[in-house]
Each structure stands twice: as structure tokens, then as C-alpha cells.
């Protein structure tokens, strides 16, 4: 891989061709090391899934194809747990405690944490400070922590986040995504998570505020954190239940998507074991191919909308039957779509 490829601005056809080349030895090596959870190789692979150049696009395709072609070696199929909630709810500390507890109690588990922080509207840069709240063990390869900037994406969840989960799903047992917790991220995180938790503070906000925001429908599980004190915790639990009932969400029957409520205190280590048990149970459940496809479709559509607007979506619908647009990796689909657009523009001339 050389810089020149990006600068050359090859045609879409040439790039599609190039994608079909075998995975370079260098990347194959990285994958082998990542498979046994060596940190730097994983980190460099993640970068390939985050970076926006032609080389990386091609490498992404090659890596995903390689992973799919070697299901025996890359036999993990991680569950993605989305953790959202307002800043100050103590998400980072809670995630830290959950991870430490999982590592302590399950010798074989492997966890990847992806923590997202907002980018500055002024400079575009970001302060990624989620590592501050936890003292993670050094050199324990069962845990991998990565920070990501939201890149001003409206959902607070960039396309990069989704890309990275495509890789990490094949390498870990559990992936935990921590959202920025502001704007639309509560809603957006559901698009790439198999299970979403909303973390709240005791007595946070009044009930009406909750319903207005419409975020109560989003999470699969509610966590009332910072329950250092029992009376306050119980009061909050009661309050939450009643507001959920009011919104007719909290239904206690055996529906598959039962809403769970946990009371925790990261600092006093309360309720962490129960939450960990729950995470482990969730991790056992197989993620369906259908839901993975749905996730991928969502992010493909989102990209088209962002890049080409409603016009793009119109074209996309028109070509819904196009075989190349419906098969292969996300990268192939993206390139195929670019090809369609390019052809379309050519006809305009």
C-alpha cells in the first residue's frame, strides 16, 4: 500500500478490480496477531476501518473478505452493547467497573471498548478523555480500549464506529460502545448495537422531560447509576417504573424484548455483578445475520444520504435490483454506487 494510490484517483472500475487482489501478507500478519489480541496490531487494523482513503477502503474489503473466508480461525461473533446516557451519568466509570469485574470473573472473556467523545465545532479536534475514569490493568490482552471522535456526525456515532464493529465482532466476545450522550446519539447507537442500555442518574430529570425527548423507547435496558444511597435508589426506581408505565413501554410479560432495570453504583461497586451476569447472558445469544445486514444497510443508506442527499436515495431505489449493489462487502457496494453515479453523470453530458 502506498500513498500514491490515494493520490492517483483511480477509476471506480480499476478500484473494484484492485479489491479482488488477495489480502497483502502484511495485513494477514496483523490479523493473526490481532486474533490473539495483541494490542498494537488490533489498533492498526482499527485505524484501517476508521481512515478515509482509497487504500483503506480496499484494505477494509480485503480484510472483511478474508475474515469471512476463514470462519474457523476467526470464529468470534461478538455482541455489541451500546451504552448511552447524559454526560455526568457516570458511563465511563460504570463501563470500567463492568469490564474489571468481567475480567476478574471470566478467565476466557475478551472485551473491546469503543468510547466516543464529541469533536469541537470550532477546530474539528476532540479531547478523548474516557480513559481518565478507570484504572485498567496494564498488559491484559483480554481487554482492548479505543477512543473515537464523533467527527461532528449528527448521530454522534460516525460511520467509522460501525466500520470498527465489523472488525471487532470477529475478534472479541463483547464490544461495548460508549456514546457521547448528547444530541441524537441515544437513538443512533441502536443502529449498530445488538443491545442498548441507557444510563441515568438517580432522579434525573422529570418524567415529562423524558417522554418529550422520546428516548424512553430506545433502550432495551435501563441502568440507574450512582445509587450510592439506598433510599434515593429506590425512589428513582419507582419513578422510572411509573414513567415507563405511563408511556406504556414497561411491559412485564414474556415478550422477548423485555425492558430490564438495573440499580448500580460504580464507586461503591453495587449492582455490578448482576449487570455483568446480564451482559454475559446477552453475549451468549447469537446475533442474527439478518440484523447484521440491517445494520449494514442502514449505514449504506446513511452514507448515500450524506454524500448525495435525496437525489442519491432516489438513484439507489431505482437500482435496488442491481445485483452488484446488493451483494459483496459494504466497500464493494459503496464503489458500485459511486460507479452508478459516475455513469449517470456521464450520460448527462
Amino acid at each position: 500500500m502506498t500513498k500514491s494510490l490515494h493520490k492517483l484517483k483511480l477509476s471506480n472500475e480499476a478500484l473494484l478490480e484492485k479489491m479482488l487482489e488477495a489480502l497483502p501478507k502484511e495485513l494477514e500478519n496483523l490479523l493473526s496477531k490481532a486474533q490473539v489480541h495483541e494490542k498494537w496490531p488490533i489498533a492498526r487494523l482499527i485505524s484501517i476501518f476508521e481512515r478515509n482513503t482509497t487504500e483503506n477502503l480496499i484494505a477494509r474489503h480485503q480484510i472483511v473478505s478474508y475474515l469471512n473466508a476463514h470462519p474457523g480461525k476467526f470464529n468470534k461473533q461478538a455482541m455489541v452493547l451500546g451504552i448511552t446516557g447524559t454526560p455526568g451519568a457516570g458511563k465511563s466509570s460504570l463501563i470500567g467497573e463492568v469490564c474489571l469485574s468481567l475480567l476478574k470473573n471470566s478467565a476466557d472473556i475478551s472485551i473491546a471498548v469503543l468510547a466516543i467523545d464529541p469533536s469541537s465545532h470550532d477546530s474539528g479536534g476532540a479531547l478523548l478523555g474516557d480513559r481518565t475514569r478507570v484504572i485498567f490493568p496494564v498488559k491484559d490482552n483480554r481487554l482492548f480500549f479505543r477512543s473515537q471522535a464523533s467527527q461532528l456526525d449528527l448521530g454522534g456515532m460516525s460511520k467509522q464506529t460501525f466500520h470498527v464493529t465489523r472488525l471487532l465482532r470477529k475478534l472479541f466476545d463483547v464490544i461495548i460502545i460508549e456514546t457521547v450522550g448528547i444530541g441524537q446519539s441515544e437513538i443512533e447507537v441502536r443502529r449498530l448495537s445488538d443491545h442498548t442500555c441507557l444510563v441515568m442518574q438517580p432522579l434525573a430529570g422529570d418524567q415529562v422531560q423524558f417522554m418529550k425527548a422520546g428516548i424512553m423507547e430506545v433502550p432495551d435496558t435501563f441502568i440507574i447509576n450512582k445509587c450510592d444511597e439506598d433510599t434515593l435508589a429506590k425512589k428513582s426506581l419507582h419513578l422510572l417504573k411509573s414513567s415507563l408505565k405511563l408511556a406504556s413501554i414497561y411491559v412485564d410479560h414474556q415478550e422477548s424484548k423485555k425492558k430490564n432495570i438495573f440499580l448500580t453504583s460504580a464507586t461503591k461497586h453495587k449492582g455490578i455483578d448482576e449487570l455483568c451476569q446480564f451482559v454475559l447472558e446477552q453475549a451468549q445469544e447469537k446475533v442474527s445475520q439478518k440484523s447484521l445486514n440491517q445494520q449494514e444497510d442502514y449505514f449504506l443508506h446513511k452514507w448515500i444520504k450524506q454524500a448525495y442527499g435525496e437525489f442519491g436515495m432516489g438513484i439507489f431505489k431505482h437500482f435496488a435490483q442491481d445485483e452488484a449493489l446488493c451483494t459483496g462487502t459494504l466497500e464493494q457496494k459503496e464503489l458500485r454506487f459511486k460507479q452508478i453515479i459516475a455513469n449517470f453523470l456521464k450520460h448527462l453530458h
Binding site: R51, N52, L127, L128, I135, S147
Partner: protein
């Protein structure tokens, strides 16, 4: 003599004309090991110093024995290492502790050091009720600025209250804690913030004491009387005079109104001072001598708000740790001021000044407004946990830096009149800097091993068990700690026992929500470089900023983190007290383009070695460039660069965007390598 008293004269109780006694002269001192420090104290006392101010090294302050891995690079660097009662006995050998006023700059382990001091006195047969002095013990400012906290806020407050309770009954002339606004100013606090945050801290402590309800009314009044302050004074000395007067008046009002203290003696605002080091420059360091003098005026001129004890920094503090001569020079300034001038012959010389009174009123109003705001938000402990106070400080610091860079605030020799003849003061043989003898650390560790070998192991273990129980059961831990001291428990053991009981605290960093207002050509240049980088590589350059080791002065690192985001970097910042392994692990996991570390404690050589070893063992030494910032003496530059450090930034490099520009060059060089 006429009967009519003159307004410009001071009279004693008998009506005779008198003059004030000078304040206590102190020098913040301690280094290398207990033997060297003992010698230093005795020679300082012989030179006319009237009190002791003990500087401890970082492991002692953070609760690690000298043989702990994280301690090793720091032994004896910024103060004296104290591992056990045996060390304490050596440190005060041949010093009359019953006559001494001893101030200890100790916080996270304050209860331990006081216990060692008490045990030392008892073993020497000194009546402990005669002991006088101060344990700094202001944890709130540690969370905010200085970083040697260990336990969570609630537990830290409990330790402080335990100490007040014990001291009032057993060592009545001991100040169990000091309310420090000193470090707040160093961290960028404005005078209003200094007043507000310091007084909020005092309120937090007194409220907690009230809540425990362990004193009679009379005892509580005396306890309020034991609250003393440790304040900072900067270059704006007229404003500083007013700040000190505002402090006195506000304290009187708070103790009267909030705590109903009737005896005016116990409402008096008592404070010690260390004048500002923040304004001291690395450039043309000889100018700092004048700055120290001017800063001294702010806390000595007004009799109604004059300091009780004064410590002066040394002229070359921005270069490195001061040598004995540098400290002597500062002591001489105090002596000249107190004995050659007529300052101490007059009553308060500002009383009735319209200007001073109006300024004091203004400061008071603003500070009370801020105090009320914090109390409404839930008080001091809550404002620590939410990061409110920390963020305010980082914001003020950012503003100060912006003004310096824009030249709106003039600092002679730094951003104006920067050319000049070179100072002969920095030219003597050792380059004008002090360095710690590495062999001396070995002596400390040998003594520690000796103590462990000679002690009654069963007694040591039993005393630790009792300490753990006291911690768990809410019993006052002083007695148990003193027994630990006598049983030759070590600093690390005492701290670990309480870490187990209370947990360790990670406070908010203060970088959240910060922004800088810097707009400059350099900023545009950097942002352009970053845009080009994104265009070429498809992502924003990533930097990890870390503070390795035990040095908790995080503000410099936080400024860099905030500035880097302002420039357009994605910055991973994760607080203080990190090992080299922690930093390298994050750098690898985050796949960063550059590692930036900040060090002020003088242990940069050791820590840089550790860092490169870690990088090397991960095969990343050639791939991730390392830059270094902090107080790094120029003579060390070459060796550091040879080890592989790509750039070194010191307080001279105050133009943050020029620093960022330089860092972008380092990254681009790496990419094209």
C-alpha cells in the same frame, strides 16, 4: 510622654510605644534523604530561620514506600523521603521539636506524617501537647491542582475531621489542616476564585466537623480558631493587598454568621504565605529576584492582613530545584524587609483608604456570589466530583495563557524586552541547577529494609489490622495510626491499608468543555498543516498526552491537551499518576501519531528511559515519536534527545500554537520517514 495616642504609632497593653514581631521566616526545604535534610534544617535554623517547612518527596506524599516501582524515579527529588518512624527520628535529630513550629506540606498521607511526628516526640520523651505546627492536609486543592490525593473526597474529609478531633484534645496548638489557596493561584485562579474556592474549602471542613458533633460549643470555637490558611501572592500586589484584606473580613463574617463564633480571637484569619512561583520566568531569571520582593509587599504591607509565616521561592525555580544558596538569598530578603525597614512600627497603613476599601468590597461581593453558587450546587465535595471548580480553573488558566501569547499581559523578558545581556548567575559550574545524588536513594532503601528487619513483625501486623478496623467502623484513626508508627509500619503499608478500605479516587480532569480563544497566524498555519494531513492520510492526527510518575501538577499537561484540540488534533488525555507502561499501552491501543509527556518533578531522565524501554519492547520505538514538556534543565537536553526525545518544551515555550506547529512537523517527519 503625652497622653494622647498618635495614630501612626503602635501601643502595647501598657500603653507603651511598641513594634510588631516579625512573621515566621521559613524556607520550604527537604531533599535527597533524611540525613541530608536534617543537616539542611539545622544549618537553616542556625542562619536565623525561625520555623521549619518540610518538603516531602512524591512517594511519601502519595503513600508509597521508597522501594515501590513507581517511587524509584522520585526518591528524594522534590523533598525528603520518609518511610517509617526511624526516618522521622533521623530527620529531627538534634532539633528541639518542643520549641519548633513545624509545617509539613503533606496531604494524602497527612494523618500518617502527623502520627510519625507524634510518635517521634513521644519516643524522645517530649510532651506532645507542646508540639506546634501544621499539616497541610487540604485535599480539595489536591483534587483541583496539585494531585497528591489518594482516597475519595468523602473519606479524605473524614481523615481531616479525625485529625481535628484528635489535635484539639491532644495537640491543641497544631493546625490539623491548612486551607490552601496557594495552589489555586498557581493553577490559574483569579483573586475572586482564590477567595471563593479557599473559603468554600474551609466551609466544607467546618460543616463536616459540625456534622460529626464531637465538640462542645467552646471546643468548636477553638477548633474554628485552628483553621489556618496558606495563601499565594502574585505580581499585582495592590490587588493582592486587597485580596488578603478581603480574606480577613470574609472569614470574620463566615465564622460569625455561619458558625456563631463569639470569641474574636478564634475568628481571626491566620495565614502563611508562599509567594507566587507561577509568574517566575525561565527567561532572564535574575528578574525573579525583584518579582519575589514585590510579591512579598502584598502580604506584609497591611498590618490588618499580614501573614503569620512567609516562605519565598528561589529566583531560579523555573529552571530547577533551588540550591541552598538560592534559598539563603530568599531568606535574606525577608530579614532585610523585617529588620532594616520601619514596616513593623506602624498600625495598618491602609485603613481609611477609599481605593483599597472599594476594591476589597468588590472582591468580597464577587467571591461571596461564587461561594453561594457552589453551596447551592451541593458544596465543596460535590463541586470536586462534578469537576466544576477544576473546569473553572482550567478556563482561567487558558485565558491567562491567551493574554500572554497575545501580549496583553506583559511579562518582562518573556514576551517583551526579551533581548539582553546574559545573566552571570546561571553561568557558575553546575549551570545554576541543583541535582539529587543518585546514591543517596540507596541509603534510604537500605534503611527501610533495616527497619523491616528489626521490627516486631507481629506488632506491625496487629497495628495495621487495628487501623483497617478503625477505618471500617468509623472510629477515629489517629490512635491506630500512631500505634502503626511506633510499630515501625512503613508509609506504603499504612497507605495500602487505607486504599483497601476506601478505594483510590480518579477525579475529573478539568479538560472537559474547555476552549481557548487563541487566534493567531500560527494557529492558522497549524490548522492548515492538519487539513493537509487529513487530506493525505484520511484521518485527524492523534496525540496521547500523559503525566507519568507521581507528579500531580497536571495543569501544564491539561493546557497542552486543550491547546491540541484547539489546533485540531484528536487528543487522548487521561490524567495523572500513570506508569510508562500505562502511557505506552494507550498510545498503542489508540494508534497515535505522537506521545507527549509532561514532567515537573525532575525525574524526566528516569521516566524517559522507562518509556522508551516500553516502546522498544512493543516494537514501536521507531514508529511513535515522543515529545517532552515541563521543567527540564537545559543541560539535560542533549542526553534526552540522544535517547530519542524528538522535541523538548519548557515554560519558555508559552506560545501554545507554536508548540502545536512544532508537533505537526514531528508527525509529518515521522510519516515521511
Amino acid at each position: 510622654m503625652s497622653d494622647e495616642k498618635k495614630a501612626h504609632l503602635l501601643y502595647d497593653k501598657e500603653g507603651e510605644v511598641t513594634k510588631d514581631r516579625p512573621w515566621i521566616f521559613r524556607t520550604y526545604a527537604g531533599h535527597t534523604n533524611v540525613w541530608a535534610s536534617n543537616e539542611l534544617y539545622r544549618s537553616n535554623l542556625a542562619k536565623g530561620q525561625t520555623g521549619l517547612s518540610i518538603a516531602m518527596d512524591l512517594p511519601t506524599q502519595c503513600g508509597y514506600s521508597s522501594d515501590h516501582d513507581i517511587a524509584k524515579p522520585e526518591i528524594g527529588k522534590v523533598g525528603v523521603p520518609i518511610n517509617s518512624l526511624d526516618d522521622m527520628l533521623v530527620l529531627f535529630d538534634n532539633i528541639p521539636v518542643d520549641e519548633m513550629n513545624t509545617s509539613m506540606t503533606i496531604n494524602g498521607t497527612s494523618m500518617w506524617l502527623l502520627s510519625l511526628y507524634v510518635a517521634m516526640a513521644e519516643e524522645r520523651g517530649v510532651d506532645i501537647s507542646k508540639l506546634r505546627g501544621t499539616t497541610q492536609n487540604d485535599l480539595i486543592k489536591e483534587y483541583l491542582a496539585r494531585g497528591t490525593y489518594i482516597f475519595p473526597p468523602e473519606d479524605s474529609i473524614r481523615i481531616i475531621v479525625d485529625m481535628y478531633e484528635y489535635c484539639l484534645h491532644n495537640i491543641p496548638a497544631w493546625n490539623a489542616s491548612n486551607i490552601c489557596s496557594y495552589h489555586l493561584q498557581e493553577a490559574g485562579a483569579t483573586p475572586v476564585q482564590e477567595l471563593a474556592f479557599a473559603l468554600t474549602t474551609a466551609i466544607t471542613i467546618l460543616d463536616a466537623i459540625k456534622e460529626r458533633d464531637c465538640f462542645t460549643e467552646e471546643e468548636f470555637e477553638r477548633c474554628v480558631g485552628r483553621i489556618s490558611y496558606f495563601v499565594n501572592a502574585g505580581m499585582r500586589f495592590v490587588e493582592e493587598i486587597c485580596k488578603m484584606r478581603a480574606f480577613s473580613e470574609m472569614w470574620d463574617e463566615i465564622t460569625t454568621e455561619r458558625y456563631g463564633v463569639k470569641n474574636p480571637k478564634f475568628r481571626r484569619f491566620r495565614y502563611g504565605i508562599q509567594v507566587n512561583s507561577l509568574g517566575l520566568t525561565e527567561e532572564q531569571p535574575e528578574n525573579n529576584a525583584w518579582r519575589i520582593l514585590i510579591e512579598t509587599l502584598g502580604v506584609t504591607l497591611s498590618r490588618n492582613a499580614r501573614c503569620r509565616a512567609l516562605q519565598l521561592p528561589a529566583w531560579n525555580e523555573a529552571l530547577s530545584l533551588p540550591r541552598p544558596w538560592d534559598q539563603q538569598w530568599s531568606l535574606r530578603l525577608q530579614q532585610v524587609m523585617a529588620y532594616e525597614t520601619d514596616l513593623l512600627e506602624y498600625p495598618d497603613i491602609f485603613e481609611g483608604s477609599l481605593v483599597i476599601e472599594s476594591k476589597v468590597k468588590d472582591l468580597k461581593e464577587k467571591a461571596f456570589a461564587e461561594i453561594n453558587k457552589i453551596i447551592e450546587m451541593g458544596g465543596g465535595v460535590e463541586a470536586i466530583k462534578t469537576g466544576y471548580m477544576k473546569s473553572s480553573l482550567v478556563a482561567s488558566q487558558g485565558e491567562r495563557m491567551s493574554k500572554l501569547i497575545k501580549g496583553e499581559q506583559i511579562v518582562v523578558g518573556k514576551n517583551k524586552w526579551t533581548d539582553g545581556l546574559e545573566s552571570p548567575l546561571v553561568k557558575d559550574s553546575d549551570g545554576g541547577i541543583f541535582s539529587v545524588d543518585a546514591e543517596a536513594a540507596k541509603k534510604t532503601i537500605d534503611a527501610l529494609n533495616q527497619t523491616r528487619k528489626n521490627r516486631d513483625q507481629a506488632r506491625a501486623e496487629a497495628s495495621l489490622k487495628k487501623l483497617a478496623e478503625a477505618a471500617k467502623n468509623g472510629v477515629n484513626m489517629m490512635e491506630a495510626s500512631i500505634e502503626c508508627a511506633k510499630a515501625r509500619v512503613t508509609t506504603g503499608e499504612w497507605s495500602d491499608t487505607l486504599r483497601e478500605a476506601f478505594g483510590e479516587f480518579r477525579p475529573p480532569t478539568g479538560v472537559d468543555g474547555q476552549s481557548l480563544s487563541i487566534e493567531s497566524d500560527t494557529l492558522n498555519q497549524v490548522r492548515e498543516k492538519i487539513e493537509q494531513f487529513i487530506e493525505t492520510h484520511g484521518y485527524r492526527p492523534r496525540m496521547v498526552v500523559g503525566k507519568p510518575g507521581l507528579d500531580g501538577h497536571s495543569n501544564g499537561a491539561e493546557m497542552i491537551a486543550v491547546a491540541a484540540r484547539h489546533a485540531g488534533f484528536d487528543v487522548i488525555y487521561f490524567g495523572i499518576r500513570l506508569s510508562a507502561a500505562d502511557i505506552v499501552q494507550s498510545a498503542l491501543e489508540e494508534n497515535v501519531d505522537v506521545i507527549g509527556i509532561s514532567l515537573l518533578s525532575g525525574s524526566h531522565n528516569e521516566i524517559v528511559d522507562q518509556l522508551f524501554e516500553e516502546l522498544e519492547s512493543n516494537g514501536a520505538k521507531e514508529s511513535i515519536p515522543v515529545i517532552l514538556g515541563g521543567i527540564i534543565p537545559t543541560p539535560d537536553f542533549q542526553a534526552l534527545q540522544q535517547k530519542g526525545v524528538k522535541r523538548i518544551f519548557t515554560p519558555k515555550d508559552f506560545d501554545l500554537m507554536a508548540v502545536m506547529n512544532d508537533i505537526m512537523d514531528v508527525i509529518n517527519d515521522q510519516k515521511s520517514a
